[in-house]
């Protein structure tokens, strides 16, 4: 089954005490791609992943990993699937590198432990017991254990929880490299920027259901208003004259009805201009900035964040 997708879930239902934690969830993850399952805590992300890992049996629906059933074909799948659990799954009494060597010993042809140690910066705590590691160090070790067997599919449950920015960067780099090598990566996260920067495909999950999905770029560019409005966002110093800008765009060359424009300072130093944004709008905005001797540190058009997408869909903030 060389062409089967990394993961296929079809109408999967998992109930705890009669309550559906995963509720007819369908999902496909490709090889050589990063698929993010994004959602608030308690959305059913971990249970979904655990059904893929063969750790839980779904009550309904079909789960396939590399074209195989995670429960019936567990023996064939285990050497080909790497797992990083949310709670780490590392025994507390062993030294970091000892654990990695131990997991490596389960595989016929594991990756070079020294190379992974170097890549993920494990050397500084190689002889420290897991009990004494920081959250980020444990996460890096758990990731190393997930990939040491040269998996074809990797499941990462909240991979950068508790990580400092440098660790996160190292982890993201490694994930991109795995993707380039053709590995299918499925990760859960409630971090917007992680899904935005890393994922090729995003499934937004809430209450055990997929409420939106698509290529990350498509999700970010599809707006809630279908009438061609776009949002221009810019960052500059705070307290600029928003009313003046509104006056200018409303009397701009596009000559739209005044009500079509929304101009606000969403947060101190962050401005958004929503309306029929066109090239002349950008000229108007930059002229307005120049008048006030303000330099924009960032200017984007049309780009929503996943946070916006989630808010649009649920009206709630991602916890």
């Amino acid at each position: 089954m060389p062409d089967s997708p990394a993961v296929v879930l079809q109408d999967v239902v998992k109930r705890y005490d009669g309550r559906a934690v995963v509720d007819h969830l369908s999902l496909t993850a490709s090889r050589g791609a990063v698929t993010a399952v994004l959602g608030p805590n308690g959305a059913g992300k971990t249970t979904t992943i655990e059904c893929c890992e063969g750790l839980r049996a779904p009550d309904e629906g079909r789960v396939e990993v590399l074209g195989l059933d995670p429960l019936l074909n567990a023996r064939e799948l285990r050497p080909r699937v790497g797992v990083m659990l949310q709670d780490g799954g590392l025994p507390t009494g062993v030294r970091a590198l000892e654990m990695l060597h131990h997991v490596a010993s389960m595989y016929a042809n594991p990756r070079d432990v020294a190379e992974i140690t170097e890549r993920l910066g494990l050397a500084s705590f190689a002889r420290t017991t897991v009990r004494r590691l920081s959250g980020g160090q444990r996460q890096r070790l758990a990731l190393a254990a997930a990939i040491v067997g040269r998996p074809e599919v990797v499941f990462l449950d909240e991979p950068s929880a508790g990580m400092d920015p440098q660790s996160r960067h190292a982890v993201w780099e490694l994930v991109r490299e795995l993707r380039a090598d053709g590995v299918g990566i499925v990760l859960t996260t409630h971090l917007m920027d992680e899904a935005e920067d890393l994922a090729d495909h995003v499934y937004i999950v809430d209450h055990g259901q997929v409420i939106a999905s698509g290529a990350t770029a498509d999700l970010l560019h599809a707006g809630p208003s279908a009438d061609g409005d776009r949002t221009l966002r810019l960052e500059a110093r705070e307290g600029l004259d928003v009313d003046a800008l509104r006056g200018r765009v409303e009397s701009g060359p596009t000559a739209s009805p005044a009500s079509a424009w929304t101009v606000t300072e969403t947060q101190p130093g962050s401005y958004s201009v929503t309306g029929p944004v066109d090239p002349s709008t950008v000229a108007v905005v930059t002229a307005w900035l120049a008048e006030q001797s303000a330099l924009a540190s960032r200017l984007t058009i049309g780009r929503r964040t996943l946070e916006d997408v989630f808010l649009d869909l649920t009206g709630r903030e991602l916890r």
Binding site: M1, P2, R31, G32, E53, G54, L55, R56, L66, G67, L68, N73, A74, R75, E76, R78, P79, R80, V81, V83, L85, D87, G88, G89, L90, P91, T92, G93, V94, H102, V103, S105, M106, Y107, A108, N109, A142, A145, G149, R150, P151, E152, D181, G182, V183
Partner: protein, 268 residues
């Protein structure tokens, strides 16, 4: 079965040779897990205290002092005490130490993580059981060495039967350990496993033969796995043969507890 699914495409990526099976051979996985489990127990201070230090102290204390009044039934103190201490050692490793270790591994997700590697659940269980036996080898060597130094002279005909009793006791008490570890919270297991060890040692027919226990406790102790193991060890090392009744009791407990653990063990 001509299942060739694992012979699919080579894992993509640089320097990855084609393999038909990415898992290490089963014996190597289990050997690796056994060594891992054994190291974990022998390196853990509290575990070492319960499995080695405490039995040695009991052995020396009971054999060399008369702090505890013993009816040795005509045997020397060391001959009378050693079989019971060996039984206690088996219980401390197969039951208390294993229950606590497994319960915390379960809480920390270690069982789940390792079961997703090629080791699998079966390999994990095999590694745990062999790890227990490895620690027991250390215990038996240390305790026998100390006992022999103190003048212990076991019945030579009873050595093999005693080893058989150790295996039976290990089976019963490991089953009990897994039943507890797989159903209770880790802190609960910590308390119960230690408490049961003390209760069974004092009143369960381990150090003191069931026949010397007061009242109905004698009958109860004979039916407990602790009493059966104690009787089996004393029978083997004092008289050269294991009482059949003890063997039946241990097998019965193993079947019941093993069945319960298989049914009720929760990996999450």
């Amino acid at each position: 079965m001509t299942d060739q699914t694992t012979a699919g495409p080579a894992v993509p990526g640089p320097s990855v040779p084609t393999t038909t099976d990415g898992a290490a051979p089963a014996w190597r996985r289990v050997a690796s897990q056994t060594a891992f489990e054994t190291r974990m127990i022998l390196r853990n201070g509290e575990q070492l205290l319960v499995t080695i230090v405490l039995p040695v102290m009991l052995l020396v204390g009971l054999a060399r002092t008369s702090l505890v009044d013993l009816d040795t039934q005509g045997y020397s103190r060391i001959d009378f005490v050693t079989p019971g201490v060996l039984a206690l050692a088996v219980m401390s490793t197969a039951f208390t130490s294993q229950a606590i270790a497994t319960a915390f591994d379960r809480r920390n997700g270690v069982l789940r993580l390792l079961s997703t590697t090629p080791l699998g659940r079966g390999g994990l269980l095999a590694g745990k059981i062999l790890g227990v036996l490895a620690v027991e080898v250390v215990q038996v060597v240390v305790l026998s060495g100390v006992a022999l130094a103190l003048g212990w002279s076991p019945d030579p005909a009873g050595v093999l039967p005693a080893l058989l009793a150790v295996l039976l006791g290990t089976a019963a008490f490991t089953s009990l350990a897994l039943l507890l570890a797989g159903t209770l919270r880790a802190e609960g297991v910590l308390a119960v496993a230690n408490l049961l060890l003390v209760l069974l040692t004092v009143a369960g027919g381990v150090l003191v033969p069931a026949a010397q226990l007061p009242g109905a406790l004698e009958q109860v102790a004979l039916l407990l796995p602790s009493g059966a193991l104690g009787e089996a060890m004393r029978g083997a090392l004092l008289l050269g043969e294991v009482p059949a009744f003890s063997v039946v009791v241990l097998l019965g407990w193993t079947a019941a507890l093993g069945w319960g653990a298989g049914k009720l063990f929760r990996w999450h």
